[in-house]
Amino acid sequence: MRLEPRDHLPPWLALATPLIAVAAALALAGGLIALAGAPVLRAYGLIVTEAFGSRLAATETLTRAIPLILTGLAAAVAFRARLWNIGAEGQLYLGAVAAVTVSSLLIPDWPPIVQIPVLLVAGAAAGMVLLLLPLWLRLRFQVDEVVTTLLLNFVAVLFVSMLIDTVLKDPMAFGWPQSLPISDNGMLPRLVARSRLHVGLVIAVALALVVWFVQARTTFGLQSRAAGLSPGGAVFAGVPLGRTLVLVAMISGGLAGLAGAVEVMGVKGYVTTDLSPGYGYSGIVVAMLAGLNPLGVVAAALFTAMMYVGADGMSRAMGIPTYIADVTVALSLLSMLVALFFTRYRIRR
């Protein structure tokens, strides 16, 4: 028995791969649910109904998917150019705090039509800055960006925590560590009345389309793909490697920063240090499940959001630890990796 590289991948298999991976992850998670003594099949059913069973649940799942689409895109864009941005979590926090700072301290009275775009840009810019630093370290000192972006996540959250304690401290919060609120003019409009679902969903899906279009159709998309697949080949063909990576980093960091800005402008209105339950890290899972395809990111983000909302509700209903959602999401990443292997190789006897 030996492995043999596949010549080409049939389209049905490319589409089926993430589904197979997710099924495998759910089966494995089923074992853990059973370990907790809960009926597995009912648990699966509950995940779906808790995520989509009511109008409230469905809007909640969609709301959760918004930051996941954005961080998933951030990871997909970067990974495609072999830029290992694992720092989306930190970039998200900086994006959120940038939006809050600009809105509450600088331009609280500007009308929404101007203020909202300015805040979004501020959030994206903050995310970019946080990724350009590790990229600079890589280009200048050959430091692996995986470790630096990971370490910067901790620095970013501490930085946000410091701001919340000092210049951004909300005096009305009775000592709770939370930031000044975004001005009402800076909040994103609701998409569906009597829910938390906001316009961020439109922004995220539109950006997925834009990113897909840029990657598939533009010269920059072609060059950044070449840079990721073969740096030597790209340099020989005249692709400006440094400039391409800087652009990729700006897009990736910008999307992650935007995730933070959109989350704070759409849902909470203020920043705390538990703003994100690991959206930055889940974005990596989303991107991998999507096969780094920007349109696939939307679907993968929906699945991941469903796991978080649905498994959360399910675990409460059945009295098992809520961490089952995180376990399932992590398992789907691992299953997807194995599945990806079999899209590249086949077993021959």
């Binding site: 492995l3 853990l32 370990l35 907790a36 990974f79 290992w84 694992i86 370290l137 000192f141 050959q142 430091v143 692996d144 995986v146 470790v147 630096t148 990971l150 370490l151 910067l152 996540n153 901790f154 620095v155 501490l158 930085f159 925590s161 410091m162 304690d165 000092t166 890290y281 990596i284 899972v285 991998m288 098992i320 630890p321 809520t322 961490y323 089952i324 995180d326 376990v327 999401v329 992590a330 398992l331 990443l333 691992l334 990796l337 194995v338 990806l340 292997f341």
Partner: protein, 315 residues
Amino acid sequence: MNEMMDILGSAGLWAAVLRIATPLIFGTLGALLCERAGVLNLGIEGIMTFGAMAGWLAVYQGCDLWTGLLVAAICGGIFGALHAGLTVTLGLSQHVSGLGVTLFAASLSYYLFRLMVPVAGTPPTVTPFAPVHIPVLSDLPFLGAALFNQTAPTWLAIGLAIALAWVLFRTPLGLAIRMTGENPQAADAQGLNPTALRYGAVIAGSALMAVGGAFLTLSAFNSFFPTMVQGRGWICIALVVFASWRPGRALLGALLFAFFDAFQLRLQTVLTGDLPYQIFLMIPYILSIVALAVMARRARVPQALMKPYRRGERI
């Protein structure tokens, strides 16, 4: 200035240095062993978390402390086998596989912990390792309290650094591991089995990482709580580069790093109110980044690090 001198002169600081360094020594040695064989193991953060949980839980369920460490090591080895399966057998991206292992191991440890230990107002505790009393040395004035008032795993960590240096640079096995990390093709040509060597190194290295995690719950603290590893795993990965993949320097690096950490902790209490405490907490992470920037270009990276090897496929 006087305050600084007071801090440096306190036995508590130096005792804390060794205590803070211990999990980093275990983790760094583990990561170093994996990388010497050519595998970057970013599963470290999750493996340390799982080790912390598994070791604690074993003791909480009635095992003795050493059995707790052993349980942690075995669990670490299992996650190591998982990472090796993904990266060695399947040849998948070591970056993404490692992150996957971290996400899985960390979330699984939280899940199992919650499953076994119901929510309570105060987290349940175990009786941790007690400091080992060394005749004469522990009774020395100042030095006794500063250096010779540590728990057994700390001495184990220091001993392991020396042992790993010996294995890597003085034994045939160590040479085989290093050759696998430099050129698996050459190891194969000499009749060695690079796949088995990589599996062995990753499993053993992951076991060390998990023991480092267990030190947190069985010696430094006495309970387990989520996110308690706090990026220590990533710091270990940075320390491996800082140490140029040498166990002796890894030991020194971890001690140096722990010194800064212990120092800032004490400085925080002295300078309270002058600076936000978050500044101090950032120092370890920023130091790690600086260490990477300084050392990355000078270090002699194992040539086959992150390169999968499959017989018959040229790399």
